[in-house]
């Protein structure tokens, strides 16, 4: 099932992506 098929799944996917990218950003900036 594709999470983007529902609004709930889309928003969860967005927040998960935000958390992952926040971690990546911290690694890139060496913090």
């Amino acid at each position: 099932m594709n999470p983007l098929d529902t609004i709930k799944g889309t928003l969860i996917a967005g927040f998960v992506l935000a958390a992952v990218l926040a971690y990546v950003a911290k690694c890139i900036a060496g913090m």
Partner: protein, 170 residues
């Protein structure tokens, strides 16, 4: 041109709100409403939305997306320089990394609008000719691109804000 950066930033915010506002309108309001209207056999159907609302909303949507990107790219280059596009790697500047990630998310979203959503919406709305099979495929592609943009808008907005105000949960 630096004296006009305040105006550029203001226009960027205006276009950005218009773009993402319409993106949320499509995803939270229009798509579910059209599905409900199509399923309601005693109702007026979705034709009026498709004829009068969707083309106008898409007109503002795609040009707001372009305007947001152009004004944002200009502002970012003026403030952070080229290193923002390379995510500030080697600079140890959190703000440069944050704005760079936000800018790349916005760039992917702009690509989705002009390359995946708009050409397929033209088929769906009958602006260009398409068979029923082509319309069905176009619907799925446009839908997933639009939902991807809705998901990406969350980290995109977070990183845009983070450049000036920090991340909310670190």
């Amino acid at each position: 041109m630096e004296e006009l950066l305040w105006l550029d930033r203001g226009i960027h915010i205006f276009f950005g709100v218009l773009w993402v506002g319409l993106l949320y309108y499509f995803n939270f309001v229009q798509v579910p409403a059209m599905a409900e209207a199509a399923a309601d056999k005693d109702g007026p159907g979705p034709a009026a939305i498709a004829k009068y609302v969707a083309p106008r909303a898409l007109l503002y949507f795609r040009h707001a997306a372009l305007g947001t990107w152009v004004t944002g790219a200009w502002y970012m280059m003026a403030i952070y320089g080229h290193s923002a596009w390379t995510l500030g790697i080697g600079k140890e500047s959190l703000a440069t990394t944050y704005i760079g990630i936000g800018a790349w998310l916005g760039t992917i979203m702009l690509f989705n609008v002009w390359v995946l959503i708009w050409p397929n919406q033209k088929k769906i709305l009958g602006i260009v000719p398409a068979t029923d099979d082509e319309k069905a495929a176009a619907k799925r592609i446009a839908f997933l691109a639009s939902r991807s943009n809705t998901a990406m808008s969350i980290p995109m907005l977070m990183f845009m804000m983070a450049a000036g105000h920090g991340l909310p949960f670190f």
